[in-house]
């Protein structure tokens, strides 16, 4: 579904991503892990067109999107969340979801009033469903900026889903969450996968990564040092050395 081919991004002398080959398959949750500064966020930003690619190629559903700007990537079906929450805090929860949903091209056919005022019955239903999914239905009219941290994270995920993507890029969705919230997130992600979503999950929280992903790639200094199932990764000596630090249990996590 998504294929990175020799992808590189250099910031001046820093090789943030360096010759990365990766393939994410339809319907899987693919984990991307690595120590701080290893190039995970940069990879996400390259895929969705925020940074121009230095060299290499990105293909999505057979299409070359290497140089596509963000809104083209979105229209192609790639939505994302941010490592540092990025919402429209001055707008209501409802508005955040509604506009994200309306950004999709097929909504242009829904008629002037539906498109610009209030939305069609179907669009409203979809927003309601997303509000439920994110657990913020009671706060639909609050400003997004007034939500708690956990609610904002969930709203960000819901907003990404509002665009009806086929691929979700999640950049550390569990950062700052407590154990209970991580458990809920894990269930949400598993449910999304069951519904057919493909997810690229960047994460430091090992319980989540090991518990929910189908396959994992490990980055270090912009290069892939390992790839495999969660079990294979946990037992990989290179990974233990680079990422998990000491030769200890891989379950600990590094938040």
């Amino acid at each position: 579904m998504l294929a990175l081919d020799g992808l590189s991004k250099h910031f001046g002398g820093v090789r943030a991503v360096d010759g990365l080959d990766l393939e994410v398959r339809q319907g899987e949750i693919f984990g991307l892990i690595g120590p701080n500064g290893s190039g995970k966020s940069t990879t996400v930003n390259l895929i969705c067109g925020v940074f121009p690619v230095t060299t290499g190629e990105i293909r999505f559903e057979g299409r070359n999107i290497t140089r596509a700007p963000p809104h083209v990537c979105l229209a192609a079906g790639i939505a994302r969340t941010f490592q540092n929450i990025r919402l429209f805090g001055h707008l209501s929860v409802w508005q955040n979801l509604w506009v994200a949903q309306n950004a999709m091209a097929d909504r242009k056919a829904s008629g002037f009033l539906n498109r610009w005022f209030g939305g069609s019955a179907r669009a409203r239903q979809e927003v309601e469903a997303l509000l439920e999914f994110a657990g913020v239905a009671a706060k639909a009219d609050d400003l997004a900026g007034n939500l708690s941290f956990g609610e904002q994270r969930r709203l960000e995920l819901a907003r990404a889903l509002a665009a009806k993507p086929s691929l979700l890029l999640l950049d550390e969705p569990a950062a700052g969450m407590n154990v209970e919230e991580v458990g809920q997130l894990r269930e949400r992600l598993a449910k999304l996968r069951d519904d057919g979503m493909t997810i690229l999950l960047v994460e430091h929280v090992m319980e989540l990564v090991m518990g929910v992903t189908d396959r994992i790639a490990v980055l270090n200094f912009g290069q892939k040092i390992a790839e495999g199932t969660p079990e294979e990764i946990q037992n990989d000596p290179l990974v233990r050395e680079a990422y998990l630090g000491a030769p200890q249990s891989a379950g600990g996590g590094n938040a």
Partner: protein, 299 residues
């Protein structure tokens, strides 16, 4: 009603248009120092239409407004593509250019043995439609407020629409808005066009109220004030800039005791607000708080 009060209220009404115009741009995150240019363009264009071409008031006003909106779009196309301070500087330069053009702009025709029309730095006299048609000061004030009410309604509709949300999204995080598939530049140009239109309504009303427009009135202080109105009253609702105008003209200007210190009081007020309430008295959070309280009471 006493004449002074009618005069002050008419002034507040007219200035409200330019304040709303600057407010609309603040919403999309752009600071314009040049809204007075669109006010001026419409003042001249509508005055020319009624005083020289013999048009009726409403078509004249519509014409002036349309010219101002078109000028705004033309300014926006090259300047809004580039992010950052560029737009602010460009609007300032444009407004000064417009003012200087009016300083030398001569276009006069003879009407009833008198020369009528813009006469460079001597201004444009005898825009007498209101007098010739026996419209009283109070009636004209009501016309101003009728139009203001219509524009306010349009603003409230805008806030409830997707367009309003998009404008606010662009103002808060243009990069994120772009990532949501929003064509930021196109919407900013649209916002500037609408802002030019709103300023244009005020300019046309102004020309016919004073019957006399001079280029020097449209200097940068008018633009700076109109920016400040939204920043004082708040960027959460279109009432914000109106509150700003009311505070400045209705309150500061009318209290004789501080008349000489008006600019100091005004500047101080802006400075204090920028520190404690950077998005004004009625900012988004305050407006949402009020909205939710009102709804709860009705429910």
């Amino acid at each position: 009603m006493d004449d002074h009060l009618v005069g002050v209220l008419s002034n507040i009404g007219m200035i409200s248009f330019i304040a709303l115009s600057a407010y609309l741009l603040l919403i999309v995150g752009e600071i314009s120092f040049g809204q007075q240019a669109f006010f001026a363009i419409s003042a001249y264009a509508s005055g020319i239409a009624t005083a020289m071409w013999g048009w009726d008031f409403w078509p004249g006003l519509a014409w002036g407004t349309a010219v101002a909106a078109a000028a705004a779009v033309l300014v926006g196309i090259p300047t809004l593509r580039i992010r950052g301070l560029y737009f602010s500087i460009a609007t300032l330069a444009f407004a000064e250019m417009v003012r200087l053009v009016f300083e030398v702009f001569k276009y006069q025709v003879e009407i009833d043995g008198e020369m009528v029309g813009p006469d460079g730095s001597d201004g444009f006299r005898d825009i007498r439609y209101i007098f010739e048609n026996d419209i009283t000061a109070v009636e004209y004030m009501l016309m101003i407020y009728g139009l203001l009410a219509a524009v306010l309604c349009a603003f409230f509709l805008l806030e409830r629409s997707r367009l309003g949300s998009i404008f606010r999204m662009i103002g808060q995080d243009p990069v994120l808005a772009e990532m949501q598939g929003i064509d930021v530049t196109a919407y900013k140009i649209l916002a500037l066009g609408l802002a030019g239109l709103v300023a244009g309504i005020g300019g046309g009303l102004y020309a016919h109220l004073t019957t006399f427009v001079e280029p020097k009135i449209f200097n940068v202080m008018l633009g700076v004030h109109s920016l400040a109105y939204g920043l004082i009253g708040g960027l959460g609702t279109a009432f914000g800039p109106l509150i700003g105008v009311a505070i400045d003209i209705g309150f500061l200007e009318s209290i004789r005791a501080i008349s000489g210190y008006r600019m100091i009081a005004f500047g101080g007020l802006v400075a204090v607000l920028l520190i404690f309430r950077p998005r004004g008295l009625l900012d988004e959070a305050a407006v949402n708080w009020i909205r939710l309280r009102l709804r709860r009471r009705h429910a």
